[in-house]
Symmetry: C2
Amino acid sequence: MPILSKKAVEMPASPIRKLAPFAEQAKKKGVHVYHLNIGQPDIETPSVALQAIKNMDRKVIEYSHSAGFESYRKKLALSYQKIGLPVQFEDIIITNGGSEALIFGLMCTCNPGDEIIIPEPYYANYNSFALMAGVKVVPIISSIQSGFALPPINEFEKKINSKTKAIVICNPGNPTGYLYTKSELLQIRELVKKHNLFLFADEVYREFCYDGAKPISVLELEGLEENVIMIDSVSKRYSMCGARIGALVSKNKLIVEAALKFAQARLSPPTVDQIAAEAALDTPKSYFDDVVNEYVERRNILVDGLNKIPGVFCPKPSGAFYCVAQLPVDDAEKFCQWLLEEYSYENQTVMLAPANGFYSSNQLGKNEVRLAYVLNKEDLTQAVKVLNEALKIYPNKA
Amino acid sequence: MPILSKKAVEMPASPIRKLAPFAEQAKKKGVHVYHLNIGQPDIETPSVALQAIKNMDRKVIEYSHSAGFESYRKKLALSYQKIGLPVQFEDIIITNGGSEALIFGLMCTCNPGDEIIIPEPYYANYNSFALMAGVKVVPIISSIQSGFALPPINEFEKKINSKTKAIVICNPGNPTGYLYTKSELLQIRELVKKHNLFLFADEVYREFCYDGAKPISVLELEGLEENVIMIDSVSKRYSMCGARIGALVSKNKLIVEAALKFAQARLSPPTVDQIAAEAALDTPKSYFDDVVNEYVERRNILVDGLNKIPGVFCPKPSGAFYCVAQLPVDDAEKFCQWLLEEYSYENQTVMLAPANGFYSSNQLGKNEVRLAYVLNKEDLTQAVKVLNEALKIYPNKA
């Protein structure tokens, strides 16, 4: 048979799904598995969005404009303006989820062999998108001790060379939950300007900021109009992960024009889902207040609970709905597999995502896991208890 | 500002949308434009699919499996089995339209710099997908005189070298409407086996075959189990272009495994649309009978009408809903622009797609246009009349 491409071989399997077969086995044995491994919220999709789908009266599910329905882009632009972001509808390309926005963005800015710098740990699929574009990811370590704050700028400077085309940040961060401060973003601004780079910011968790913290968008950074590409998505905001509606947003007209050509090639983003996403823009503020309150309580249960377990350290995140915790084990991946394959407490176990999949530097994150607090409070309380009991008897402690 | 990538510069604008601004101008002047340029059918989406959307009772629009809902893949596999194709659900990855299936397929099989051979004229977006994957398209001319039949196999042989990784066909063809015969497909089979190539077949128009012609899938070609990648989509079949649900189908397990890793990176195809696509599999046969009868009548009106215009030649296609016609003009693109910009007949004009965008060989198709017969019979009759009148007075005749 003909041989596959290098990309087919090198494309990583998803680190959050790698252990799925072991979870299936556990379930077959009748063990209840608490899924803290994936970012699929249990929060209900806003009813305005669900109703818009039910009320759709089209007889033909036609293509939309390749950049997305103009009505949706206009209303989305307005929603950005309301939070102080200077976005016009012409600055927006609607995409198949945030994923496609980043793929288009990378392909529009980077040639094969070019480099992008990303503070690690970072969303694992960035590796896959970079591989598709033939781009090399250059990681910079942010440490769990600092709560995953921005690494010192001189660490970036050391890695910048003639092949460096962009910095990529996720803010608030997946998997860390860290929210960059204004001072950190201003440092990034100076760096990007100095070296004439593109700046990608994945801001899909913008609405999930806690304890009064305010998210700052890269679109607010003055003088970076030509450099910034913001990646957005309705997936988490409206608990509509399956709608696959994202956006590439940039004030750089050449970027938007180029991204539109990529968008035209695949014709259009999904029509019904855009109708739902447009309607979701009318979600009342009370929905977000409720959701944020719920996540704060969940975070507190999970993070406070984790930090009470001997040997566990978990910085308290200000955003998103993930945290990264250090466990007193020699190899978190083996521990996660053991939890599913060999362990149960009162017929329950937990599924976690080993954090090393979120690092590209070898050997980093070996004793860390990512946890998503997307379960209800009772389940989270119980999951922490199960984890505590498991660590008491796990044979391969660090 | 930082400079864009080579791909951003080289990515072609869509040839079927290039003239859109002129159509807008014509409409602003109050001229009615008959759109024969795009493949957006006016046929109604089957009511089972629309109802499934209305009846969806999910409270959370969650991700599906990255390969698509198992229930959908199983039912889709069954639908292939019913038409004699040996497909199991494990052979299927559900994608964001046929477009994503081809992008995944190319990235899984070809390294940057590799070559794929495609008979031209071909669907213009293949160029864009090839560019994304860094792959070079090597065209082989099929001629309008033969009705766009398969070019002689020795023409393929001449182009095959160590970089050739795949042959790509579209059957029935867009833009030609040509349906490959069994003998032609057997020739392709021998070629693919002899040179150990991959064979991509875009079969999204399978249901649109006329005059008793039967489509043959590449999945029926014996001994090509490891070579064949079939691209499918619900877009045209169920007039659900905006659903963005396609599929990559292959009996080669390594291809499916690799494509799944690409699919995992972008998480999932759209959920609501998969529900609609699954329901659409219950569309009654009468729907397709009606649709095929309708298209045959439309084709006859359009193609017979075109051939009655002095100097126009249009082979009668057996499938899809496009045809390519030769016009007595020196430059079809200029003529198409003139139709929108300067011409009107009883306040009406027609929009056609210049065919040179469907050729990659320079200068080919300069006096050809693609026409989609996706309008009702009255409109098509009128559009042919307008075109006839226009050609009577067009100043730059060939």
